[in-house]
Symmetry: C2
């Protein structure tokens, strides 16, 4: 907050009419990644005067309670596991993560929950940070405690999402952790029960297992990571067994009881699992409560539906970006939406198309799961005649050196009619950065006949692309399609001569 | 070799006319990766009867003396270096590679120089392996010792390349190593001199430094990796200094002398460098000598010039794939060419376009260098108005966890007129698999306006793509181009809804 602001509106001003009205071009509610990007882009590209309202920490859930601390906790185990797969390096490593060092690193990543490091970014862009809870107060008006912020042009809502809590008897009273507690604690419980086998659940299960806890994961669906291709969850579960993580799928928690420092989860069917701590990671819930939506005739409590311009209900002044619109609850999708919303406010025509259910997604476990676009199931649901090309992620010469011996499947999903790649899922060690090539191919609709000319370097794991092309060619031959993929002569290929 | 073959032509047949004539559809000379792929594809896709001639080891230079053993030697150092960058893992590792274990792993990778493991692949495809030196003997005829192989359709030459030796007085008598000796030795010399700072030179320098040798690299050009963007060699040199590798650039070797177990390289200017061993890694030389080229009216001794169908001199029966044609001396380029040549022999129209000078290339050092397409210099030479977007490879949130704190630049080269990515170079730790996304974008000519919708996952290092788009947008704004990259509304974008 600027000094001037404090000087003009002293907070000890208690006169009857105490509303302080300030005018901006745009008011952004929520200073997580999506809000920051929206505000920053408006200021930087458009020279707009922007206020950004934050009730908790600038940087948001992602920086302090999700993506960032979780990766600080997962990476040591990931790289040590990889080192033990490399003869010549394996002899030089202990497989034990140094828990204290990992936790210290996590503390540094989240800056001990102080957002001071985030502020220079806002300041450099002249964003006016308003601390407090932002609430709509009619069209283009945002109230933050006694402040009334007027938005000449637009209001952008970017308040994120919260951890969902399932209705399980006893859970509310059990003192369970959410992502917020588990990503910030210094406690390494002897035993941890994780309710939910989605991304947060499996990441935290592995992180805390690597730090020394006994971990049990309970997932109501038939497998871990139920939204991904079925092999992903199955292969992760297999790896979890090797790591000594107890996985229970296809079963719901029926009751939770707490006695002293022990929490017991009773499963349907009567099995009881006891642990020192319980993490609830069953998904996210919409956060647009207490946002003053009713002052503009909207219902609170559900995700804010937006159009392709990220506008709420087609209103020309109200945008919602990030988790709050429910399109794709991922930091990178929120950042993408923020860019587009900002550009639209700046008068450009945009259409969000990269952030659907098929937006890129990475689970940073070991093996990791990285996926983009369609799974076979989602292609089927979309009425696309698709086929899966399944490969062993470790089936390249490159995998003799990187990810050696690790199991995991890579699936390419092909639209047979158009001969296009419409999705890919990589399961294996350190697969996060294998994904971008698939994203470019899918989003760019690069024909398979062109991909056949995109040579993968030897011996790198990217030769999965060559294996994919070869396997698809065999499928093609079986289908009786004439010619090879190379017969594309005019396609756009441009490697320097 | 099939039993039947031996039975029909017993090798103890010593009659005056001892030539044994056998007829195939295609004869491939050279069973390295390119020859294997060409032969295998002809047999598998086309049902052709193929002979493959090999004078040394099936699997070729790549499998036994280049790509594969070098990676076995480099990977331990790479992964240990990465582990030491990760708090929580760093405490669990020693930075010393276990040299004996690394050498044993190398031995296993090259199967103790026995190609037995390569044979089942040939057998599964019914390729007839003919051991011996293959030599053309007129059109569609290949002589291997006393065998005459008749190729009904085509001959494919895939004999690779050899290590070049510069003309330096004393070098020939100094008992220097080439890539063959250094990739297979079990000796860890106290001191190693590497003549040549190209790919082989820098990879072997780092590998043997990590195994314990004192290493000096001598490069005549002004920098290491002279074919890549200048920052690549400079950044690698900087890292080499940290590793304790002595790098001398811009200076030629004037004389080499050997006394007992010590080799001295005298540089121009008089500086002398002594070492126990000397590796010559100044590049490759063409191998089409003693190939019988004169029997079809061709000059021996230089790379075999081919057209886009990989045909030598437009002859309809003679193909050259891999290093021997000099297009791009890389295993993956050879494999690509082999696929195309095979398809052309099978009657399909093809055009090799992915394997030019801009073909993907990776140097597996730490930091590694991975590049595709144009450098700024090659774009300039090609008359393309290009601009470089330079980023810190470590400048993403993902790099807080992977490659943390390591230096290195990522350069995206953009054709300003067409707004296309025409090249990319990544310098940093473990960058090999970052490359494929760039290759797909370059080869697929994916417009930047579409790339702006190819969301990179957070927090992965692939967010370099977001940083690239953002930086290019700023450049674009400076150039006064209207609109943002998002204004592409009709472009091909297809993430599952």
């Amino acid at each position: 907050m600027s000094e001037g602001c404090n000087a003009i509106y002293p907070t000890n001003d208690v006169q009857p009419e105490k509303t302080m009205k300030r005018v901006f071009d745009v008011v952004v509610i929520g200073a997580g990644p999506a809000g920051e990007i929206a505000g920053g882009r408006l200021a930087e590209r458009g020279g707009k005067r922007v206020a950004i309202v934050e009730s908790h920490l600038v940087g948001g859930e992602c920086s302090f309670y999700a993506c960032m601390p979780s990766k600080a906790l997962l990476r040591p185990q990931e790289v040590l596991a990889e080192a033990t797969r490399v003869p010549g390096a394996a002899e030089a490593v202990s497989v034990r993560v140094d828990a204290a060092a990992a936790l210290r690193r996590r503390d540094r990543i989240v800056n001990d929950l102080d957002d001071a490091n985030q502020l220079p970014w806002l300041e450099a862009r002249n964003l006016e940070l308003v601390r407090g809870h932002g609430r709509l107060d009619g069209e283009r008006r945002v109230r933050v405690a006694d402040d009334l912020l007027i938005a000449r042009e637009a209001v952008v809502i970017a308040v994120g999402s919260g951890a969902a809590t399932p209705r399980v008897p006893g859970l509310a009273e059990a003192g369970a952790w959410s992502n917020r507690e588990i990503t910030t604690t210094n406690e390494i419980p002897n035993s941890l029960i994780v309710l939910g086998g989605g991304v947060v659940g499996v990441e935290m299960a592995q992180a805390w297992r690597s730090l020394g806890s006994e971990v049990t994961v309970i997932e109501a669906m038939q497998r871990l990571l139920p939204r991904e291709g079925p092999f992903a969850g199955a292969e992760l579960e297999e790896a979890f067994e090797v790591h000594g993580i107890d996985v229970r799928t296809g079963v719901e928690a029926a009751r939770v009881t707490r006695r002293d420092s022990s929490i017991t989860v009773e499963l349907e069917g009567g099995v009881r699992i006891a642990g020192e701590r319980l993490l609830v990671a069953v998904g996210r819930k919409p956060l647009p409560t207490d946002l003053g939506l009713e002052t503009i005739g909207l219902e609170p409590g559900s995700y804010l539906e937006v159009d392709e311009r990220l506008r709420v209900r087609g209103l020309d002044w109200l945008y919602a970006v990030g988790d709050v619109n429910g399109r794709s609850l991922l930091t990178h999708s929120g950042k993408y939406q923020a860019r587009l919303a900002a550009d639209h406010i700046l008068g450009e025509e945009v259409r969000a198309r990269g952030d659907g259910a098929g937006a890129p997604r990475v689970v940073f476990t070991d093996p990791g799961v990285a996926a983009v676009g369609h799974t076979l199931a989602s292609a089927d649901a979309a009425g696309i005649a698709a086929e899966a090309i399944d490969l062993a992620t470790g089936g390249t010469a490159g995998a003799s050196f990187h990810g050696r011996g690790a199991r995991g499947t890579t699936r390419f999903v092909v639209d047979l009619e158009r001969e296009l790649l419409i999705g890919a899922t990589f399961v294996g060690p350190e697969v996060a950065d294998l994904l971008q090539a698939a994203t470019v191919a899918v989003v760019g609709r690069v024909p398979l006949q062109t991909l056949a000319h995109a040579i993968a370097p030897f011996p790198a794991r990217s030769e999965l692309w060559l294996k994919f092309i070869e396997a698809y060619e065999r499928r093609r031959d079986q289908h009786g399609l004439a010619g090879s993929l190379h017969t594309d002569l005019s396609g756009p290929v441009a490697v320097a001569a």
